[in-house]
Amino acid sequence: MTPPDTAGDALRHDAPLPNPLPRPPDELPRLERIWRSPRGWAFPWTEVNNNWIGVLYLGTAGLFCVLAVILSLLMRAQLAVPGNDLLDQETYNQVFTTHGTMMMFLFAVPAVEALGVYLLPAMLAARDLPFPRLSAYAYWAYAVGGLGFFTSLFFGLAPNGGWFMYPPLTSHEYSPGINADFWLLGIGFIEISAIAGAVEIVVGILRNRAPGMTLARMPLFAWAMLVFAVMIIFAFPAVIWATVLLELERAFDWPFFLPDRGGDPLLRQHLFWFFGHPEVYIIFLPAAGAVSMIVPAMVQTRMVGYGLVAMALVATGFLSFGLWVHHMYATGIPSLSLAFFSGASFAVSVPTGIQVFAWIATIASGKPKLHVPMLFVFGFLFIFVLGGLTGVMVAIVPFDWQAHDTYFIVAHLHYVLIGGMVFPLLAGLYYWAPSAAGWRLSVRLGKWVFWLLFLGVNLTFFPMHISGLIGMPRRVWTYPEGMGLEVWNMLSTASAAVSALGVLLLLVDLARNFRMSPGGPADNPFNAATLEWLPQGNYAARSIPRITSREPLWDQPDLAEQVRQGRHFLPGTVTGLRETLVTSPVEARPQYVAIIPGPAWAHFIAALCTAGFFLSLTVKLLWLAGIFGTVAVSAILYWLWTGTDLGPVVDRADIGGGLCLPVYVSGPDSVSWWAMVVLLLVDGTVFACLGFTHAFLWLSNGDAQWPPPGMGVPEVAFPLGSLALLAGCAGLLWLAGRLLRQGRARAMGGVVLLALPLFLLALGLDLHAVWQAGIRPTLHAFGAATFANQFWQGLHGLMVATMALYLAARAFAGLIDPVRRITFDNVRIFWLYALAQAAAGLCLTHLLPRALGTG
């Protein structure tokens, strides 16, 4: 869809306001009714609105943080004196693993993601992000799964292998219990929920901005969240794949990591840190984005170096993927590659330096007021700069050989994460709380919280630099007397208690002063410049403002009043359903009005059962997992059937300013198409990790062992047969598209049902081919890698089958026609991807060994 020609005029800063006064009297009540939260028993389970889901999400992340803090206090108590026996070694090992895992996966990433879900719609003046039920689903799956994971601690079943779960320690032989499975299955699927959130955020930021909010006018927090979400899309697949491999090894004895059968334990380390290092920036960037919003408001001036900071965010995202090996300096990697990774690690500190100096410049050009958020910003600068400097130190290979895996690293990572993420988050909490609760948190308590945490954190973690360098390794449940460690550990423990007091006071402040008020803030207490401080309801701003600068609330003085009166775009609802305005990705020109779903039970039930499915798998209750899985898939299908692809409910929507937009769009302009493409990027990255697995294990084994003696390469006729079937399937999909264009939707459904068996047959033929060639997954890493491909392709066979049957059913039910075709488009994109991936998989299995001349 090309935007209407009038858009250019309607977006000019001197154009008349899009909608005249007075507004029809029923316009606002209607909008409020449609966006009303569910009441009674249905709340909050069926709620999908970002204001509520965002706050619930943040609250849940906060709960997990507090639980993990309690675990850290247990550890500090244990380490207060040498030879302590408060915790035994097994409990301690479970506690530190759970602490790290929860902080990284259940607190840090979800908390910043939640901040995005909560803030972004208001900041971009979208009514909501495009897939609110997906956000709600991701939230509930995370909340239920996370609680289930934490509970394992009470049964002594919590994982005990450290949060990066290195095999062979976590392999079946050395960790026979289900503790490790709690990590793999319990955390693994929460990573999927982080990806769901990232899809929502990427598409939302690029397609749901206020008209006129070009990329160059976008708030820096949105820039940070965009980079954050893109990084999740490329980083999380690596850890998901590493998790899949380890679980396959544990459950089915496929020796990816066991050297006696051709596996390599370093494979996991590469995959894990390819995720794990970007992870640090995934956590830090949104926090930095928040600081870039808070500082200008606190000092009442525009951000200095906006362009440099936006560039720095993007550069950090790129560079952070090039330094995973700096977690592996001691693994015996050749010194040339160490030098490269050392340089790359240095390079990534430059964009961070840019941001620090941009904040300093902004502070210098304004009039700083010591509001509580500003105190936390100063605390952030102090702690984070120190942590950044020790980060440069550990990027240096010889120094890192000493510091690695000692308390120096414990100190460094807590400085970076507490400084770089927790303090900005607290600054954000004190800054944005009024936007959710209507009034500010206590200034007096806030100052106490700040000083207790600032002193507590520094005095807890600074001594750890010293205890590490004088000989204390990390992850030790106790340490001997007489090594000079006593005084530093006692100081750390005492100071941890001070920090705990700060956390307690924060909870008191929240309990006393934070009440969700759906009416939104009455005013803009810090006189900030960005759109989240417009008068808000559940529907965000009453009308979608037309933006002409980066600081609209400062440059358009009457904006708040105009928006409240409904004088900007889309002041009510056109279709009588929840809607959000979709704009173009760069220029933010209005393109169409997307209908978005409201409260429902299906996504909630699906989330509950998804969590139930993975938790039952963990405790090996397969029948229960079967029930949960079936219900979850059914609920998702019901949700899709009833809530998506509604078609053009009305012909055109007049949003004011002469803009008449469609309410249904298919193809590359639709948000749905964008989301599918983003999802395929995730999928493709997992497949790239699969390819890396093959290449890495081949290099580790050498040509002669790839394949090893006893395993052959199947006859060339097999892959050729599979390829022919895949090509036939692609041809039928082309035919299906042609039939749909001709309006023959039912015939299209029939062709789809013909194409499906061809695809499944192609996959089945390849499975048969590798099996008859004597390749077995348990005998050697070659077989395991080959079958990892079979596993991944089979999973796609299952997904394509579900989608194809769903598509055919929609077609036969008359819900698809040449206009209403998003379901068809999405299934076809996914399917074509699956075909290409299957062909690439054939190359891995059949071409690579032949190319090596060993087949």
Partner: protein, 313 residues
Amino acid sequence: MNLQSAMHPAGPDGERIAALSWLLFGGGGAIFVLVMVLVLVAVVGGRWERRLLGSRRAIVVGGIAFPVVVLTALLLHTLGLARAIGLPLAGGEPPLRIEVVGHQFWWEMRYPGTLPDGGIVTANEIRIPTGRDVMLEVTSADVIHSLWIPALHGKIDMIPGLVNHRRIRADEPGVLRGQCTEFCGAQHAMMAFYVMAQTPEDFAAWLDQQRLPAAEPDRPILALGRQVFGAAGCGGCHAVRGTEWNARIGPDLTHVGSRLSLGAGVLENHRGTLAGWIAGSQDLKPGNRMPSFAAALDGQELRAVAAWLESLK
């Protein structure tokens, strides 16, 4: 004097890294103070300073130019240093090879070529001659461990299926401590060892002593101890060279009486601690692979076997 400290080096590489560390602490500290002062100036500084600091140029200078210059210099310096650390130290003499194998939760040290049919095998301590390069060839028999002797050098991972190298040298005779630094399971915290640097003469004498098979018992209590050792099944896991026992699951005990510690740095080594360890190793180091023998042996047997092991100097 701390025996396990990167800041108290006892060899040339340890000294280089410690010097680098002080450089980093000094430089890092100076930059930290500078940035904090700039923050302070940004808040309370005069009109002129704040205008200077509040410009886009200040970001380019402070956030790009300064780090690029400093970090480039630092990178060149450290790459040179890393190269120096990789070069052989002593002229002429080839380094002494010692193989170190990590086990849950102890260390096996082998000196290849010291016996006609292989080499002596010891546990939980590395004896090295002073003034000579020693090449540690490390690997693991089970999970990943990491070998760290901070006074001599940084750590090197011990990975099953892979042999890694770390070259060390001690300047003066003395005892140092090392520890496992890659989390390896229940008793990762109690997986330590000692490094004993000796003059080349003392080292040669120790090596000669270690080459001998275990001494035959010359007193009744020692003979009883040897008998108990067999009856209790100790030989199912341990080797004692010169006897019928040659299992490789636990530490080689041929000269266990000459070692500095028991249980990988957990206890001092004498008859009393030997008896205590055998009786209650699961109380002293819960989760380690050796069962407690308190129920299997009576007091007399325990004393005898401890006495015999102590006599294996």
